[in-house]
Amino acid sequence: MTVCLESLGPDEGRPYIEASKAEHPCLLDTGHLMAERFGVVNIPNCVWIDESGQIVRPAEPGWPAPRDASRSLGGDDELPPRVADIMEEASKIVAWTADGYADAIRDWARNGASSRFVLSSEQVLARSGERTLKTSRAAAHFAIAERLETGGKHSEAIHHFAEAHRLAPDNWTYKRQAWSIEGGVEGPLARFWQGPVEGREWPYESDWLSEIRQRGASTYYREIEL
């Protein structure tokens, strides 16, 4: 099943759901409740839950080998320089589980608890990510930001989004959600621009391109082992 973390409501994610002709449950999470409860700090992420409701693999970047995202964003058209730069950085992102993640899921589907990819309770908790009072405070600020944003109080929401970013610097989802709301160029690239546009004030201290250059693309997803 899928959970779409999107504060702007169903219309943003719906085209993707329809294009995929999904037969599994497709849920919408405007408040990022799932991310808070399962420890998701960047997307896409997967969590494995067994028949009895026990988590056997916590949130992790389970996604296939990197693909040429420029094709889905801009086709063969020439990309704006910022998007070309974004694509260059994105190509350096490491998909720690790229090799074999789908096979690991198939193995679990076949073998259940005896699959070698099922983790012990200790491993599940240890791999679920650190949580501190600071990151808890970030989540509370994000919740307020989301309510203000969906209530039409965009300028009031920005302070709380920024606080969430400051308190939980490793949480890319908080940043990507807020930055993508600002928009950028018109068209299909708008949500992926996530940074300043000439002639418009940018309300955040950082943006996707600056941030990934500063932190390093290899840190974009938490390093894990299958």
Binding site: L28, D29, P44, L133, S136, I144
Partner: protein, 115 residues
């Protein structure tokens, strides 16, 4: 998650945090954390006391009239136990879907976003 105020009902607190407040403590599945005396009064939760014991941050925006509570941190990790947290969210068709309805099956939960 958001709460109406700092003295929510047990039901509202559970919906916001996935922790149920009972006489024996704050519980999530088999895990129960003892609470300070006075936390539970007539079906309402003293948010400050409960949040302090569970290591939850409370943020208030008085101008907006909003109170939010962050997730529990006493365990030091995002998951306090391997028990799957409760999760009820709408589908894209607008119907509520309860993750519990998939008990008995293996589930891969995929988080994604269009940005």
């Amino acid at each position: 998650m958001l709460l109406a105020d700092k003295n929510p009902t047990v039901q509202d607190f559970a919906a916001a945090t996935s922790w149920t407040i009972e006489q024996r403590g704050a519980c999530q599945g088999e895990l129960c954390v003892p609470l300070a005396p006075g936390t539970l009064n007539d079906g309402r939760v003293d948010l400050t006391l409960a949040a302090d014991r569970l290591g939850m941050a409370v943020v208030e925006d008085a101008d907006a009239g909003l109170v939010a509570v962050g997730p529990a941190t006493f365990a030091g990790s995002a998951l306090s136990s391997t028990a799957c947290p409760d999760l009820v969210l709408p589908t894209f068709d607008g119907d509520d879907f309860d993750l519990r309805s998939l008990r008995g099956q293996r589930v891969v939960l995929v988080a994604w976003a269009p940005y």
